[in-house]
Amino acid sequence: MTINRRQFVQGATAAGALATVPSVAMGADTIKFGSILDTSGIFEAYGKPMEKAHILALEEINAAGGLLGRKVEMIPYDTQSNMALYTQYARRMTRRDKVDVVHGGILSASREAIRPSLRKAKTLYFYNTTYEGGVCDRNVFCVGTTPAQQSAILVPEAIKRWGKKIYVLAADYNYGQITTNWIKFYAKKAGGEVIQADYFPLNVSDFGSTIAKIQKAKPDMICAVLVGAAHLSFYRQWAAAGMKKKIPIATTTMSSGNEHKILTPSEGDGIIVCQSFSPQADFPSNKRFLAAWKKRFGHTNDIHEIAASSYDGVRLWAEGVKKAGTLDRMKVIEALESGISYTGPTGKVTIDGKTHHVTHDMHLIEVKNQTLTIAKSYSQIPPSDTQRVCNLEKNPNDTKQYEIKI
């Protein structure tokens, strides 16, 4: 078959017309949802499941007829675990794509990189990750767990089980230090005591001398606020030294990167954790979520706490839009502040209007044979750390991240 120039031009024009028509039609009435996450690079293990959570939540919303009668279209950006890309992509989302809302950011550094520019561009922002607390900004909603929510449960429970003397091992940056302060606070409140706190840079992987020092101090338990792959060595070396049976471990961090599946059962069993999500939690809204995830992505091995809270974040935003009946930013914020809640993978999650953080259920979890078995559930724990410093009803123009003095 030969094609002469005229036929070619006709064909190309027709194809071009076909290609452009739907996108014009879509562009006119989709709601634009900006998703900004590290889905490659060293934080990929956190970011990939979070992106899946965004996809799942939006597909479900669209399948149920969308929002305000319009479909929601996800515009994903992969920041490649590179903080510099956050500012660049945030600008692109607000200027070129003109998104209606932004969800994402993983490390606190990434959130702080885009928070000011999103506020300036009057684009609503949801940060759905477990973090150190204290962000007070009316344009931002923080749907993740904060340190007080974990420590308030974990520390008294551990003291009740094991004794009063705590030895803290923490990552040497703001999350580790702030969480350690909360552990000290709640230990004191429960009649216990932190006898020693050691901080480790993120690349430390040799804990031999630390393990000897711990034995010298003879604590009743270890509280671990260790972060990342290198720190995981601690659990291995602890088990290899035969310490597992002698001194028990409680931790705030294990399992947000699915660490309990990386450690062998003999290294991980018996460690207690406190978080808002467990794949083993068997209440109906979680079962439904897990089944939907499995149907969409094939397996549920990669879901972690911050993927579940990312899903909650999208759903809460959708509830806010529904209640406001418009996409106008201030109206949506006001609707969300009225105490919107959603019941999903982590149970009932309610937005606290004064702080823009969430009140949600927390679970005391035991690691058992590489699964997270819920030992006890605690209903509706408020973000009490941020509540001490932040009141957006009184100071609506606040934009600070507070360091909470205890």
Binding site: I42, S205, S209, Q215, A229, A230, S233, A240, G242
Partner: protein
């Protein structure tokens, strides 16, 4: 008293750790002057080889660590040497760039194949007690491996004909050529031997530290510091500098904490190289192995 024993034990472990991760680099950099920036990834490759061979193929864990890991990395080393490094001998900057690229490519490949998370195998030896303290029995195995590695390098270089030829070729390639030895082959075998040692380190350390695609960064800086501070003599330099840094970093860690311990190691390295720019063996063990 018990505590003193524990401190000595931990110091020995740190010395063994440094010696293990640096041995391969000592051969490749110390003898051949090749700055292998992919050294950390070579170590990781050994770790991955051991993990795959034990977890997936079901091979005995000691065989996986001590045989499979070094062999796999040696084979990879030969390929890398033939395809990339042999064209760049004597061109320091070019080898650095090329091996850095190799390192990035390997990190990418690990992520692609094994995923971004850390994998590991369980330590095959349990703990034992010294007085009130319980210690990791696996550490004894690591110390023994390090001693074995050092003795092996020493034995091969000093007492075998192959070692003699290798040393000769490194000192004067032209002369070795004139005697009828194929220096290109000598280089290849030496590089393979260095790679095998890196692989062994990765295999043996896998149960203690865990292996992830970017974990190579943990090894490369310390390995280079150890080898450069050690100086030109492969064996005595390696022993002297691992010993020195092991004692400094662990003593400081016990006295304070691990942050200061890491800083102590780096400060000691800076001072040492300021006082002895050619490394410890450049001053004290000249012309020894």
């Amino acid at each position: 008293m018990d505590l003193a024993a524990v401190v000595v034990y931990e110091i020995l472990y740190t010395i063994a750790f440094l010696a293990l991760i640096s041995a391969g680099l000592a051969v490749v950099f110390g003898m051949m002057r090749v700055v292998n920036l992919a050294h950390g990834e070579f170590v990781l490759l050994g770790g991955y080889a051991a993990i795959v061979s034990h977890n997936t193929l079901g091979i005995n864990i000691f065989v996986s660590m001590l045989v499979v890991a070094p062999l796999a990395v040696a084979v990879f080393g030969v390929v890398a040497e033939r395809l990339i490094i042999r064209f760049l001998y004597g061109r320091l900057i070019n080898t650095m760039l090329a091996t850095w690229g190799l390192s990035l490519a390997m990190i990418g490949a690990f992520t692609l194949i094994f995923g971004p998370t850390t994998t590991s195998i369980k330590a095959p030896i349990g703990g034992f007690a010294v007085g009130d303290y319980s210690l990791s029995g696996y550490t004894v195995f690591i110390i023994a491996s390090a001693i074995g590695v050092v003795l092996l390098i020493f034995g091969v270089l000093k007492y075998t004909r192959a070692g003699l030829i290798a040393r000769g070729a490194m000192q004067s390639a032209d002369m070795a050529n004139a005697f009828g030895y194929d220096t290109s082959k000598v280089y290849m075998v030496t590089f393979a031997a260095g790679s095998a040692l890196s692989g062994l380190a990765g295999g043996v350390l896998a149960p203690l530290v865990g292996i992830g695609p970017t974990a190579g960064l943990l090894y490369i800086a310390k390995a280079f510091i150890t080898v450069i501070s050690g100086g030109a003599s492969v064996v005595s330099g390696l022993i002297a500098s691992s010993g020195f840094f092991g004692i400094v970093s662990q003593a400081v860690t016990f006295a304070t904490n691990s942050v200061i311990g890491e800083i102590g190691l780096l400060v000691a390295a800076v001072i040492l190289l300021r006082l002895l720019p050619t490394g410890i063996s450049g001053r004290f063990f000249r012309d020894r192995l």
